[in-house]
């Protein structure tokens, strides 16, 4: 919708005469070009969203058999939150920890590929993207094998006493967070890489000419210049990671279930559509709030 607002409308002041093409019969061209995309968004995004918004306000005592009456039951929201706030906060906690881990691994990785890899650059990029050629499910199931109680990873950790003799990784929060970190890492690395790749090496040289230490150079030059990629990357990582339910389902236990698992069960198992819809909207609102705050902080103060 904001996109529409930025389209030149053809009206202009006398001081800057409009280009000929903008007036006359091409005036509606931009709108025509927008039409397929807008229609698609309306049909498959806006309408289902409306439907969901409506469902979240249905009378919770209704059922599939008798139908749901629209009663503007706003109480669905506090009730859903009260019943499932642990899963809610857990989603943000796990996604947050995974994000930190992914940043610790992903930033150096993106930097190395962009600045230091030389002729290996393309190969390394393919290595980052290649796992995405297999299905998300298969990759997560592979982690089940890697972290298996009788596998070598757990065996090694037991031998060096990082895990007790009966310790395990599968079915613990560790496995779920590892899974989240792994599965969404490319979404963080790729935008970061795109930013860092454009980083002008002469700027770093200039910084060191001006007696900046490497740490200072990073803080004052590299980091600010990579900010767009960092912001895009963290958002692309954090948003799907918060709503994810596959990792918790396959690598965790009920004690690790995230809000996605609850929504899945509300719609498919318990058939409590008002609650499922309310939870979906709460999740959406919570993520939007986090993103808003984040963009305000990171977007205005550091980027510009």
């Amino acid at each position: 919708m904001t996109a529409l607002a930025h389209v030149p409308t053809g009206q202009s002041t006398a001081s800057s005469p409009p280009p000929a093409a903008r007036s006359g019969r091409y005036r509606f061209l931009p709108y025509l070009l927008l039409l397929p995309g807008a229609a698609w968004l309306f049909l498959f995004f806006a309408l289902p969203l409306l439907q969901l918004a409506a469902a979240s306000l249905y009378d919770p005592t209704g059922s599939l058999a008798t139908g749901y009456a629209m009663t503007w039951a706003f109480s669905n929201y506090p009730e859903a939150l009260q019943a499932y706030w642990p899963q809610f906060s857990r989603s943000f906690l796990y996604a947050g920890i995974a994000l930190v881990l992914a940043l610790l691994m992903g930033y150096p990785l993106a930097y190395a590929i962009a600045q230091k890899a030389g002729r290996w650059k393309n190969l390394l990029l393919v290595c980052v993207v290649a796992p995405m050629f297999t299905s998300f499910l298969v990759r997560t199931l592979a982690w089940k094998t890697i972290l298996s109680d009788n596998g070598w990873v757990v065996g090694l950790l037991r031998d060096i006493h990082l895990l007790g003799p009966d310790g395990r990784l599968l079915a613990t929060p560790v496995a779920v967070i590892l899974g989240l970190t792994y599965n969404f890492l490319p979404f963080l690395v790729l935008p970061l890489y795109a930013s860092l790749e454009r980083l002008d090496y002469r700027l770093l040289e200039a910084a060191s000419d001006l007696y900046a230490s490497p740490v200072q150079t990073f803080r004052k030059v590299t980091l600010p210049l990579s900010m767009p990629g960092l912001i895009a990357g963290t958002l692309l990582f954090f948003i799907p990671a918060t709503g994810d339910y596959i990792n918790a389902e396959l690598l965790g236990t009920p004690n690790e279930y995230m809000i996605g698992n609850v929504i899945d069960s509300a719609f498919l198992v318990r058939l409590d559509y008002p609650q499922g819809a309310a939870l979906s909207f709460l999740l959406m609102a919570a993520i939007l709030a986090v993103v808003f705050v984040y963009l305000r902080k990171a977007g205005t103060d550091e980027v510009l």
């Binding site: 919708m1 904001t2 607002a5 058999a65 139908g67 749901y68 009920p254 069960s265 198992v269």
Partner: protein, 394 residues
């Protein structure tokens, strides 16, 4: 360097807010209607049967639930034979992976009394019961099903959701009981052991199918899963909750417990007989146990949904699979409990060892210890399912 991301401007915020307000307003107009009742009646949703002119049948089933030729996986001997004998062209699709998911797939059409494009599909008892309750299933003509009449196992007749066996005909049945991997733990005999034995802590899984897990727990408390009270259910649920809270139960699973049990990641579990038999073929230390307190008997049922236009063809197929010789061939491949009387004698010709396996052809002693879960009305189903889901964490 300019960045592609703009800071949030006042105008952007305003447009956003106005946009959301517009969406909400539109929502209000759309929301006025709510949803219609999904319940249908036989009279209100009549189907025309065109079997006489169209010799086709669309059959939806679970994966690996049909015999395939050892040499050529695309051939299905029993089904091919049916096609040849009857001249009915069968479109066989393995698109039922999960009862709840399948329900999601067909619910919109069936609730609105529209066809699903399927003439026959296979779902588990409780889902069959729900669909029957919603009036989504066509009655079969019993005169067209003489084999079913003659050969359906006694313990699968008179089921609460289909007392006359004319809505849901068992495709295969199975037991939900306990299983253990003898390589990593010692013998296991009761549900209580499974839930409390210290050496199994964190190495136990249970099924996320409420009826299987709760049925076994109800029995372990000495109650009857075919006829229990709310208080008895709560008792059993508390027992389960204790095992979850203490960390004894590691997780709740669907079919996916099987590879974990084989690897020894889990030592024991509540599981299904067919899966465990197949694991047992590869590793004889993996065993299925019928707990002394009792075991749950479930079936996957063939049903003809409303607006399916080939009911008579479907009846021919159902009748065909109740021929003991055909049923034995199928059972030799899928290894679940065969619901057809007389198939055991036929099985002796194919594989004498399977014919004596009580988990494929249960004897009277075992059948007398097996129970079918009570039919729940919608209110009970929601209440019990919500309570159970709370305990298993979702």
């Amino acid at each position: 360097m300019r960045t592609p991301l703009r800071p949030l401007s006042r105008r952007g915020l305003l447009t956003g807010t106005l946009g959301s307000a517009a969406l909400l307003a539109a929502g209000g107009s759309l929301a006025g209607c709510g949803t219609k009742a999904a319940t249908q009646t036989e009279a209100g949703c009549v189907s025309d049967d065109v079997s006489g002119t169209e010799k086709t049948l669309a059959f939806s089933n679970w994966p690996q639930y049909m015999d395939v030729d050892e040499k050529d996986e695309s051939k299905r001997p029993t089904l091919d034979e049916f096609v040849q004998k009857s001249g009915i062209k069968v479109t066989y699709t393995e698109d039922v992976n999960d009862n709840n998911e399948f329900f999601g797939k067909v619910q919109n059409q069936l609730a609105a009394c529209q066809g699903t494009g399927r003439d026959i599909f296979v779902v588990t008892d409780w889902m069959a019961a729900r669909m029957i309750r919603l009036g989504w299933i066509q009655k079969l003509d019993k005169s067209k099903l003489p084999n079913v009449e003659a050969n359906l196992l006694g313990s699968l007749r008179n089921r609460p959701f289909d007392p006359d066996s004319q809505l849901a005909i068992p495709w295969q049945s199975g037991l939900a009981g306990i299983a253990y991997n003898g390589n990593v733990t010692k013998e296991l005999r009761t549900v209580d052991e499974l839930l409390t034995r210290p050496d199994l802590k964190g190495k136990v899984t249970a099924l996320s199918e409420m009826r299987d897990t709760m049925g076994l727990l109800l029995q372990s408390n000495g109650h009857d899963p075919a006829n229990f009270t709310g208080a008895q259910f709560d008792d059993a649920l508390n027992k389960l909750k204790k095992a979850v809270d203490s960390g004894q139960i590691r997780k709740f699973t669907g079919n996916d417990y099987a590879p974990d049990l084989a690897k020894g990641d889990i030592a024991a579990c509540i599981g299904w007989s067919g899966d465990v038999i197949q694991l047992g073929f590869e590793d004889e230390k993996i065993k299925f146990v019928v707990p002394e307190s009792g075991v749950m008997l479930w079936s996957d049922n063939m049903m003809v949904p409303n607006k399916a236009t080939h009911r008579a063809n479907a009846e021919q197929l159902i009748n065909y699979y109740y021929d003991p010789a055909v049923a034995a061939k199928l059972a030799a491949y899928v290894n679940y409990i065969c619901p057809v009387k007389g198939a055991q004698a036929e099985m002796e010709k194919i594989d004498p060892e399977l014919a004596t396996n009580p988990l494929i052809f249960p004897d009277e002693a075992m059948l007398s210890r097996s129970k079918v879960f009570m039919a729940l009305d919608e209110k009970q189903e929601r209440e019990y399912e919500a309570k159970f889901q709370q305990v298993i964490g979702a």
